[in-house]
């Protein structure tokens, strides 16, 4: 799977919002100060969120792929200021909602409680993104007609978290070599290679 296809698939999985699709056209400068603070406890929280989305099974999960560290690098280096703000504010919202739902913070929740929280956020994010896309539809058309780039508002923060988890896990060493099949030098090509249900996908 090439990079474009990977991005497209993850975009569909995370609600049809292509984060970064617009970056080729925009050029916003990331301010030095966009409220970015990744403390050890932030990284631990991100690891656990990632692990809830992609858990260890017969193979390691997102935590083993150091997903928190990956998110930190991507958010710091690649995100626009607006995306950075959505991401950081979102982590606070997530804790607030978690406290309301389970009367304790995310780190203190059981795996099942974490799972239930993220499933509810998934629904919230879908509604949020649908509404956002609908609201921006007209502006988007106008920009397209004027051949101008269009940069919409960031999607729901949960969409960012899930997307970063999937991006990071399936491009990590464990994701590519243990959960997927990795073959850096195939040496030959077979366009009708036998496949039976359960065989793993190639990593690239």
């Amino acid at each position: 799977m090439d990079r474009r296809e990977l991005l497209k698939k993850i975009a569909i999985l995370t609600g049809g919002v292509v984060i970064g699709g617009e970056v080729f056209l925009s050029g916003c400068k990331t301010g030095a100060d966009a409220g970015l603070t990744f403390t050890p406890s932030t990284l631990a929280l991100l690891d656990e969120i990632g692990e809830t989305i992609i858990p260890a099974t017969t193979t390691p999960g997102a935590k083993a792929a150091a997903i928190g560290e990956f998110m930190k690098i991507m958010v710091t280096d690649c995100y626009t200021v607006a995306e950075q703000k959505a991401f950081m504010d979102g982590l606070k919202s997530l804790e607030d909602i978690c406290t309301k739902m389970h009367s304790k913070g995310f780190m203190d929740c059981s795996p099942q409680q974490r799972h239930d929280l993220l499933v509810s956020l998934e629904k919230e994010a879908k509604a949020f993104n649908d509404k956002k896309n609908e609201a921006e539809k007209e502006q988007k058309e106008i920009a397209k007609a004027a051949k101008q780039p269009f940069t919409g508002a960031p999607p729901h923060y949960y969409t960012l978290l899930k997307q970063l988890t999937l991006w990071g896990f399936f491009t990590s060493k464990t994701g590519m070599t243990e959960t997927l099949r990795h073959n850096p030098v195939p040496g030959k090509f077979d366009g009708a290679f036998p496949y039976k249900k359960g065989d793993k996908a190639w990593a690239e």
């Binding site: 080729f24 366009g191 496949y195």
Partner: protein
Amino acid sequence: MADNEYDAIVVGSGISGGWAAKELTEKGLKVLLLERGRDIKHIEGYVNASKDAWEFPHRGLRPTQQMINDYPALKRDYPLNEIVLDMWAKDKECPYTETKPFSWFRGYHVGGRSLTWGRQSYRYNKWDFEANLKDGHGTDWPIRYEDIAPWYSYAERFAGIQGSKEGLDVLPDGDFMPAMELNCVEKDVAEKIKKHFKGSRHMIIGRSANLTQPHHDRTNCQYRNRCWRGCPFGGYFSTQSATLPAAMKTGNLTLRPFSIVSKVLYDKDKKKATGVEIVDAMDKKTYAFKAKIVFLCASAFNSTWVLMNSATDIWPEGLGSSSGELGHNVMDHHFRCGASGKVEGFSDKYLFGRRPTGVYVPRFRNIYEDKRDYVRGFGYQGGASRGRGMDVAEFTIGADLKNALSEPADDWSIGIMGFGEMLPYHDNKITLNKNVTDAWGLPVLNMDVEIKDNEYKMRIDMMNDAKEMLEASGVKNVESYDYGYEVGMGIHEMGTARMGRDPKNSVLNGNNQVWDAKNVFVTDGACMTSASCVNPSLTYMAMTARAADFAVSELKKGNL
């Protein structure tokens, strides 16, 4: 000979310059090959060739904001990627200006874009060389298919082009290596297209400069599909893998990186070039080199830029401008529209290896009896693949999602994208902008180029025909698209110093000689009189080899 004197100077070390250096040195000339950027050594210079995704800080997924700021042109499309960032020119060191939006993606280093090219290799057909004459756009090519056909063979045999022989007038066969294979879905779709369109449309393997057999000192393709990082096996054609070692082997080549050629030195009494002047990119000093002949292969716009800066005491608009055509008739291939869908029934088949080419659908519009509301035509490139699973509406997160994503999807997907011919319009032009200078104080180019009615009409067919063909082949959920196209994105800049039959309306004659300086040859994309719809690099190879042969025979006759 003095230190600064050579038989020939070649400007630029990309596909065309590499060929010029090889041909001229093999014919015994002492050649100076000038490259404006740094050297990249074969194999050891390909620093990212064997890295896996996790070894890149951002996994090659998304450019950083710093990269977006540093690369205002490159950021407009896929080339802005950390994996190959050092194989593109630094936009801010060498800016350009735009009257209309133009994406200019450049490779300023030894090998140029021969390292990052798409490797698709096709011959122009007999109609391509007659098109301008027949429909009145541009000027007539001074050559015909028969003139260049033997040189295509010559280029194919050395470069190593894999492809299938199809016997089609519209896409002439060549001297190919054994073809790579269509995958099982492509074979099925190809069969159905042939049947449905009664043999008037074809889906074939994309012909490409990837080896399917060992060739000279190069290893055959290992199906990694990481070509654009540089291939440690020499599995695809590049200056480094092919032409440069051949030229070096003769003992006749001097390669000088960091040499920005600023002008051709011109003797107005003899009406000939005497050499070139360069700005050394490192010490910023000016040096002169002398030679009997000069080959400009600096990429289409930069070859023209050198001409615009040359002999301005005689022609204010530069050497070759007496025709009024220097800098005009800019062309590219317009693309980014097509269709894709999914294919059911092949869930017991998968892929092994990553084939570095796709499928090709040769042009079928405006040939034989077909007649559209526009002229010329387009071809499609694409392919079928089986991606990873995603049919997981009920598994939003957790182990089920992980399992679904770690297996291939049940269905395959297939897509084809059109690449269309752009007409040579006189008012599509590049000019010198002396108000803006680059990091070396040299004036930059201004782009004033757009696609017009003919291209917009063609794009409608490019979308609709793609959809029709896929649907006729049983592909499901077919959706057509037009992502929008900005001129230059094809990275096939052509024209600006076109070949022609008359010095009054062309810059070069039928042997790629500048009419106003017969010992100056231009053999890169600048020389193109029309664009065809096929990828142009193989034609530059053939054109360069042909011109080099002519140049040396003229030199021997004392005509240059």
